[in-house]
Every structure is written in C-alpha cells, then in structure tokens.
C-alpha cells in the first residue's frame, strides 16, 4: 500500500513518485525495500482475510442462525465442540479474524502516514525542471515559430494552465526558456482518500458496535410497545452507554395486513402503526412495510415477521367469562401452519392449558392436517386441553410457548372453526372467538451508520480518481534561433511522459501542441 495502485512505466530516473529530495541511493534502496515488504505484507493479509471469511459461509454461524448451529452440534457431537473451540461458528467475531483485519489496518496506517506527508510535500513542490534532451521522451515534438522565446513560452504555459496543469516557468539563460508541467495529482489524492476512508469505515463500524443496540418485539393487532428494555422480547444492549438513554417513543399496532399470490408467495406486508416520538406528542400514523422502516429519533423500527394470533374465550360452568385473550401462534411453514400454547391459570377449579395447531387454510390429508394457503381462507384451530398444575408458581422461568404436558392430564381434543364452542366434561366452555394477526418488529439504533455511509461514499470517489486519473508530466522549451531576415524566430521543443497508463496520452499531447502552435 505504499505505492500508487498502478505503476506501469516506472522509470526510476523520471519517476513522478513523491520522493524525499535529494534522494541518495541508499535512502532510495531502503525506501524501496520498505515499500516492497509492506506491500507484500498487505497482499498476504488481504489474501488471508479473504480466506478467513470462507468458513463463515460454509459453516452455520451463531450470529445468523443459532438453530442451525445447534443442529450441527447434534449431527456432529465430536466435531462440533472442536470447531467451536476454533470460533468457527462465530468466524466474524473470532479473535483470529479480528487479528487479521487489525493487522491489515495497522499496516495500512503505517503506510498511509508517511505517504500523506510525502503527497502533501509533492503538492507544494514545483513541477521539475525540463530534462536536457526532450526528444528522448516517449512523446515529443519540435517546431519553429516567429516571435521571441519568452512570449512563446508564456503562451505555451497559458495553454497548459487552461487545461489545469500545474506549471513552472524557468529562465534557462542565453534567452532560452522552459516550462515544466505536471497533472494528475488527484490520482494519489484519490488513492489516499480511499485508504483513509477504509480506516474511517472501520471506526464507524466499531462505533455502531459499541454504542448501538437492537431488540425485537412481537406486537398483536391493537397492542402497544414502549421503548424500554423490559418491553423487548429479545434485547441486545449497547456494549458501552446506558440503557436509560433509549428514546422514549411508543407505538400501537393498529392493524397488520398481508397479501399473497395464488401460489402462496407473499405479495405485500403492511403494519399500520400510530406512534408518538415522546409520551406527550400527538400520535401519528405510519405504514411500516418491507424496505420502509419507521425512523424515530435516530432509532429505526423494522417489520421483520408476522403470524396469526388466536383469540380464545373460556367460561366456567356458570357461564362466567374467566379468560379472553389473543395468543400469538408461531408459524412452522410458509403456509403459516402454526403452533401455540394457551394458559388459563385462574378462575377455574383447576388450572387449564391448551396446546394447539392453527391452519389459516385448513386442508385434511391422509398424513394429517396442513395449511394450503397462508391467507385465512378456511381457518381451523385444533386444541388439546390439559388440566393440572401449569407450574406457573414454581418460580422457574417458563416459556409462553410451551406447556409441561408430562405432568398434566389430557381432558380432550377438538377441532374448531371461528365462533365455534367446545364444552369440556366439567362444563367449562372454550370458544375460538376470532383471529388477529401479529407482527414482529426489530428496533435498532446504530450511531455509526452515518460515519460508515460517508466513508463508503469517499471510498468510491477515491477509488474512481485513483484508478482513472492518469499522472503525467510535460515540458516545453523555447530557444531563440538564428534570424537572418531580421525577424526573431524561436525553436520550440516539447516532451511528455505518462507515468501511469500511457493509453491516450499521445492524443492529449498532440492536441496540446496544436493549441500551442495556433
């Protein structure tokens, strides 16, 4: 990384590389050696980085899919723990992965600092003096004009300046003048901007990792959410910074809707919410949908999942309503066949629980029921009722999606359509009172994302100018020639050198010469 990205025709003597002047051969050798080794190191580390990322795509990763990692452990009980010790299920958080990219960035910074200094010096330095014999350069031209040398050279310089070349006029004595010109500094500038932006990008990512937080929450139609850690189903707090810093917004899910193709492929999702950015603010409506998150106070609310919630009513023998709630059922397949658990801990002589399956479009098959379409065209709920101690008072944390059926007594199963009633043996009645939908929201705050975005834009800009700008030098010399008829004449010689990618330079050179001759 201590050289320009491309360096085609590096002729050491005429090099445009910013080199400390005056360059002794020992200095140059040492500089060369250093750049050689660090470039090699960078190459090696780049290759290692690419290689190290590969297992992260071949093995299941905890950050992406923890369930698959567990499956891998079950399938390979010996290999799993061994690979785990090498962090191969968390490749992108592994110490060895971090070691590679941190080394790479250390080497990058080590190269960048002296290079920025050199480039800053090169930017201030005047274009070099013309070599003695311009006709030796790859592109050159000689012509003769009427007029004196100084006026001719000023004219040549003005042509170069018009084309935004950096120029320096020199009096060479004996009436001879020369102009040295250089262009394409933007190549190295772009190169440096690109590499510096990489460092800034990494800093932005780190910023997000340290001060960002995220969480997910499931909200049923009509339900609300307020942004405090306890409201989340899953919450990953910021590694640095306090939890009380969460912006105090709230939102209510008015209605979730989904539409599907006839094949069952999803067509659109909409979560219509009313949100308040502060507790006192007036509620405002918003349609959260795929690719269209809701942004409140630097925090984004994304729609990430959905499913059905089943409304169950339970009445005791006397007909008194003891339970009336929506229960989210979790989808098991693309057609939204779902499972769930309902718990009725109070109001009845015995605690009552249900395990159930829900099919939005019910279709009986010889192998059991299934759902044939994700929309609620023929919703059916099958319930199994269980009596006994639900274990809610044991003090042990318990999932709302599971029931300790081993210690409970089964008191019947039933298939219900919406509105249908089921009377248990003890006179308790269970009603499938209706259907709602739920949506899961991911709520994320990443304070580094703006830094990352700006760095990314600079990366592209820097890359473009470092790859497409060509660096070139040009010299013009005007020497008074003999004048027999009393008219002053001047011989003009010009020579050019393209340091990077000579393609097209000859054309540019010719057009410049044409303008100078005009």
């Amino acid at each position: 990384m201590t050289e320009t990205l491309v360096d085609d025709t590096a002729t050491a003597a005429l090099s445009t590389a910013p080199a400390p002047a005056p360059p002794s051969s020992r200095h140059r050798l040492r500089g060369l050696w250093r750049s050689l080794t660090s470039m090699r190191t960078a190459l090696l580390l780049l290759s290692l980085l690419a290689l190290a990322a590969v297992p992260g795509t071949l093995l299941p990763q905890r950050g992406l899919n923890p369930v698959k990692v567990d499956d891998f452990f079950t399938a390979h009980p010996k290999l799993g723990p061994f690979l785990d010790r090498l962090s191969l299920f968390d490749v992108f958080a592994a110490p060895w992965f971090a070691a590679i990219y941190l080394l790479l960035f250390a080497s990058l910074v080590g190269c960048l600092v002296p290079r920025i200094r050199l480039h800053a010096r090169a930017l201030r330095r005047k274009p070099p003096a013309a070599p003695k014999r311009l006709e030796r350069l790859a592109v050159n031209g000689t012509w003769e004009v009427a007029g004196d040398a100084e006026a001719t050279i000023v004219r040549a310089r003005d042509v170069l300046r018009q084309q935004r070349w950096r120029t320096e006029l020199r009096d060479e004595g004996d009436g001879a003048w020369s102009v040295g010109a250089e262009k394409g500094y933007l190549r190295e500038t772009g190169n440096l901007v690109f590499h510096v932006s990489l460092v800034v990008l990494l800093a932005g990512i780190a910023l997000g990792g340290l001060f960002g937080y995220k969480g997910t929450v499931l909200v049923t139609d009509g339900g609300s959410f307020s942004d405090v850690p306890s409201s989340y189903d899953v919450f990953t707090p910021a590694r640095l910074g306090s939890e009380s810093a969460l912006p105090p917004f709230t939102f209510t899910l008015r209605k979730f809707t989904a539409s599907y193709q006839p094949s069952g492929e999803p067509k659109s999702f909409h979560a219509y919410v009313d949100y308040r950015s502060t507790p006192d603010a007036a509620p405002r409506p918003y349609d959260v949908t795929t690719n269209h998150p809701l942004s409140i106070a630097g925090t984004d609310v994304f729609l990430v999942g959905h499913g059905y919630a089943v409304r169950i009513q339970v009445r005791d023998k006397q007909g008194k309503l003891v339970y009336d709630k929506d229960t989210p059922f979790l989808p098991d397949d693309a057609m939204f066949a779902s499972h769930g658990v309902v718990k009725v801990p109070a109001g009845l002589p015995h605690q009552l629980g249900f395990t159930g399956f829900f099919f939005p479009t019910y279709e009986p098959t010889p192998f059991g029921a299934r759902s044939s379409y994700p929309g609620p065209d023929a919703p059916v709920l099958t319930l199994a009722a269980w009596q006994g101690d639900l274990g809610l008072t044991s003090g042990r944390p318990q999932s709302v999606y599971s029931l300790p059926v081993a210690s409970l007594k089964n008191v019947g199963t039933k298939t219900l359509s919406p509105g249908q009633k089921w009377t248990l043996a003890d006179g308790t009645t269970v009603t499938f009172a209706g259907l709602d939908q739920w949506a899961t929201f991911q709520i994320a705050h990443d304070p580094g994302s703006t830094v990352v975005l700006v760095a990314a834009a600079c990366i592209v800009g820097g890359l473009l100018s470092s790859l497409w700008v060509r660096r070139r030098r040009m010299w013009v010399r005007a020497v008074p020639s003999g004048d027999a008829t009393g008219v002053r004449r001047t011989v003009v010689m010009a020579g050019g050198l393209a340091r990077t990618d000579a393609d097209g330079f000859a054309t540019e050179f010719d057009s410049l010469l044409r303008r100078m001759k005009d």
């Binding site: 050289e3 085609d8 050689l36 090699r40 950050g63 193709q261 795929t290």
Partner: protein, 307 residues
C-alpha cells in the same frame, strides 16, 4: 399467473432463443476467422477472406445484442417490473453487459480477436440461464420491491459482465505468456510452430495485461458501489447494513481478491502472471457468489427462483 402478460412473456422467450442462435453463429464465425487467419497468414494469402468472416460475426453479434435487449425489455414489460428479479433474468443481464463491454471495446480498439473468447462463455452462460436457471415470468417478492433493486442490482450486473470480459482477457494473457516462455526456450523445440501459429495472432502479453487492467479498473469501482448500495438497501430491508450473510461475505471475498490483484499489479515480483492468477481467483469467487451461494448455501439472498 396474475400480473403477467403472457404473450409478452412468450415473445421474450422467443427473442431469447434467437439471441442465443445469433451469438452461437457469431462465435462460430469468430472461431473460423481465428483458425482461417492462422492458416492464411502462414501461407501469406486469404487474410481478406478471413476478415470478411470476422466482420460478418461482428454484424451477427450486433444483431444478437439488439434481440437480447428486446428479450430483456419484453420480459420486463410482461411482468411490469425490472427484468432482473431472479437468477435466469440476472444471468441474462450479465451476458448482455459482457457483450456490451466487448462491443464498446471494439469501437475503440481492434479487439476482434476477443470475439470467440467472449462469445463462448456468453453462449454457455445463456444456455445455462435458458435451461437450468430458467424461471417463468412472475412478479417480485415484496422484499425486492424497492428502488434499490435498480441501483444495487444494475451495479452488480454491470460489474459482473465486465469482470467476465476481464477474465477472458486474463486467460488469453496467461496463454500468451505461456507461449512466450515456451518459445524462449529457443528454436528447435517442438513448441515453435505452435508459437508462430497462435501467438502471432494474439496481441502482445503487455497489451493483454493492460486491456484486462483497464476493464477491471472499470469493474472494480462499480463492484464496490454495488456492495455499498446493497448495504444501504440491507439497512432498509433487514435493519442492518452488514450482517455477514453468505452473499455479503462472498461479495466481500470477491472484492478483497480483486483488491489483491490491484495491489499485486503494483508490486515487484507479483506483477504479471501472479497478479493475473489473483484476478482469476477473484472471478472464481464471483461465480461462487452467484451460483454456489444462491443454490447450495441458504441465506437471505434466496431469490433464485430455481426449484
């Protein structure tokens, strides 16, 4: 199917078939010119005849290119969306870009020698797209329904088409340097005749190297932009700009491989053949990114539409 204009979808398929046919004949034409020119040149005659066939192949390529555009446009019109929503459509677009890059190069430089070598992978690629990857016209999945599909996917397609052309040139470069090395073993070795035949016809190694670099110099920033645009889209769609999803990771690996190529090209001892190999590795990663990741590794980018 709902939301699909069946007759336009059919027209697109017919145009696609004609496109492949034109390209295949053009490929044959370029190959004939190549073989013919070798024989003709060694005898010192009939070069003009070979060149006529070459020009005819260029004409056919342009005709195929127009049909190709027609096929893509009708496909888009049939489903009323951008015509790059699944792997069939994506591969078709990549091939279109590869042909466009070749034709664009042809207007600026005498690169007809590339014809057979660009058209061969293009025809194979389209053959693969039309058979294995083919997906009937259908509307987009909701997650893809964003204007970022225009920005991110167009950039990815453009970069891939250009990388494909650079890959072909790099292979020719490696062939040329291999021939040069064998020839430099001295006269009398068995390879001299072969060298005279093939190498005289190929441009110099230096020119091929610069040509490949030029194309990568175009493709690499576009690829960088495609990754960044993808990250911005991911921020809207999946709530984070980067998550090491397999597709993201392989795009990153591809990027690093080409970055290594660019650095190698500026490093003494790595310039030339080693750098060329790095760029081919980059292209291999790109292929993994598209085909292995979409079909074998499951991730968030599962839009292949291949059953």
């Amino acid at each position: 199917m709902a939301g699909v204009n069946v007759s336009l979808a059919h027209a697109s398929d017919v145009l696609f078939t004609w496109t492949v046919l034109c390209y295949a004949v053009a490929m044959f034409g370029y190959s004939v010119e190549f073989a013919f020119a070798r024989i003709a040149r060694s005898r010192g005659d009939q070069v003009a005849k070979a060149e006529r066939i070459g020009r005819f192949a260029v004409g056919l390529t342009v005709a195929g290119w127009l049909l190709h555009i027609g096929s893509v446009a009708t496909r888009g019109a049939a489903v009323d969306r951008v015509p790059w929503g699944n792997m069939y459509e994506f591969s078709t677009m990549v091939a279109l870009v590869a042909v466009t890059v070749f034709l664009a190069l042809l207007t600026r430089q005498p690169v007809r020698f590339l014809g057979a070598f660009v058209m061969t992978p293009v025809v194979l690629y389209l053959g693969l797209a039309g058979t294995v990857l083919y997906a009937p016209a259908a509307p987009l999945q909701p997650i893809l329904n964003s204007y970022w599909i225009k920005i991110h996917v167009v950039a990815a397609i453009t970069a891939s088409g250009a990388f494909m052309v650079s890959g072909v040139i790099t292979l020719l470069y490696l062939t040329r340097t291999w021939l040069d090395r064998r020839a430099s073993l001295g006269p009398g070795t068995a390879s001299v005749a072969e060298y005279n035949g093939l190498a005289r016809w190929l441009p110099s190694a230096d020119r091929l190297d610069r040509l490949a670099y030029k194309v990568i110099g175009f493709a690499f920033p576009v690829w960088t932009f495609a990754i960044i645009a993808g990250a911005i889209w991911a921020k809207y769609a999946w709530s984070r700009y980067w998550g090491w999803d397999p597709k993201e990771t392989w795009s990153f690996i591809t990027w690093v491989a080409y970055a290594a190529y660019l650095h190698a090209r500026a490093t003494a001892g790595w310039r030339g053949r080693r750098a060329a190999v790095l760029s081919l590795i980059g292209f291999g990663c790109l292929m993994v990114d598209y085909y292995v990741v979409n079909t074998v590794i499951s991730g968030l980018h599962s839009y292949a539409g291949v059953s």
